[in-house]
């Protein structure tokens, strides 16, 4: 067993263990950091697989992405710090069954298939190859990814902005209360009070 084999199994165990911890920890911030560690372990495996550019890019991307995720956890979710024990799941047994079935099916496919064996040559300039491919033969695919990201930016702003082009996005819509029969959630109807205010002034 070579050193890279030992490193591979250590990182694999780390990736799977931290992936499991994501759904088993009470703290949602800890869950996002566990996910980040799982990505880092996979990035280390990519480095072992002689894909240095992809490995380092994954580390950079996930470091930022998981910080954003932790921020959203604190903003939106209850119990971000894990002070109370918590288990928010539905259809739990079906989900466990689906997860186990996916693992068993994919694992069986991996074990039973006659896989090709053709490793990357040791001195192959893989990063240079990637650059030539991105800005050469596959430039259209690469640019399509860029356009898709631009469309994503537009969609993100449209979805998350408070007001649309013609006024408030949630105008005329009052969400139901947080408890049955409770006070309606969401913003108070400022419009009505504004109208009466103006009416008083006008009168």
């Amino acid at each position: 067993m070579t050193l890279s084999d030992i490193a591979f199994w250590l990182f694999s165990a780390g990736a799977v263990w931290t992936a499991w911890r994501v759904f088993r920890t009470d703290s949602m911030v800890r869950a996002s950091f566990a996910l980040m560690l799982s990505f880092f372990c996979v990035a280390a495996i990519l480095l072992l697989l002689s894909a240095p550019y992809l490995g380092i890019a994954t580390i950079f991307m996930m470091a930022v992405e998981m910080m954003v995720m932790a921020l959203f956890m604190v903003m939106f979710m209850m119990n971000p710090a894990g002070l109370n024990p918590m288990m928010m799941v539905h259809q739990h047994k079906v989900s466990i069954g689906a997860g186990v079935a996916a693992f068993a099916g994919l694992g069986a496919a991996a074990l039973l298939t006659d896989l090709p064996h053709h490793a990357v040559a040791a001195g192959k300039p893989v990063i240079r190859d990637l650059g030539t491919e991105l800005l050469g033969g596959s430039m259209l695919i690469f640019e399509t990814a860029g356009i898709t990201l631009l469309a994503t930016m537009v969609a993100t702003v449209v979805l998350s902005s408070r007001s649309g082009r013609f006024g408030a996005a949630d105008e005329g819509s009052r969400p139901p209360g947080l408890e049955p029969g409770g006070k309606p959630a969401g913003r108070a109807p400022e419009r009505d009070s504004d109208h009466s205010h103006h009416a008083e002034h006008g009168g």
């Binding site: 990519l46 992405e65 689906a98 694992g107 690469f142 990201l149 998350s160």
Partner: protein, 101 residues
Amino acid sequence: MTLTAILLVAAALIGIGLYGALSQQSFVMLMMGLELILNGVLLIAVGFWSLGLGGPPRGQLLAIVVMAVMAIEMAVGFALVTAVYRKRQADTTEGLETMKH
């Protein structure tokens, strides 16, 4: 480090991710499950590229497309979470029973 071992690790990641995506009630935890599935897909793509096919440049391109999909999934997912929270004060999947407002 064989291709079979890499595919098994990736299968474990995909299985855990599928469990998370199906079982979690919180939107953000659900997205974490989807991210884990894509993590496994990335590992499979690079595994085949590196150990099975002798490093063709287009294999790395596929991995980059997977990473772009990850970024897009996160961005649109968070935008949807923001929109749903603003509309209905909902942060769990049970808070959404209809797609109308």
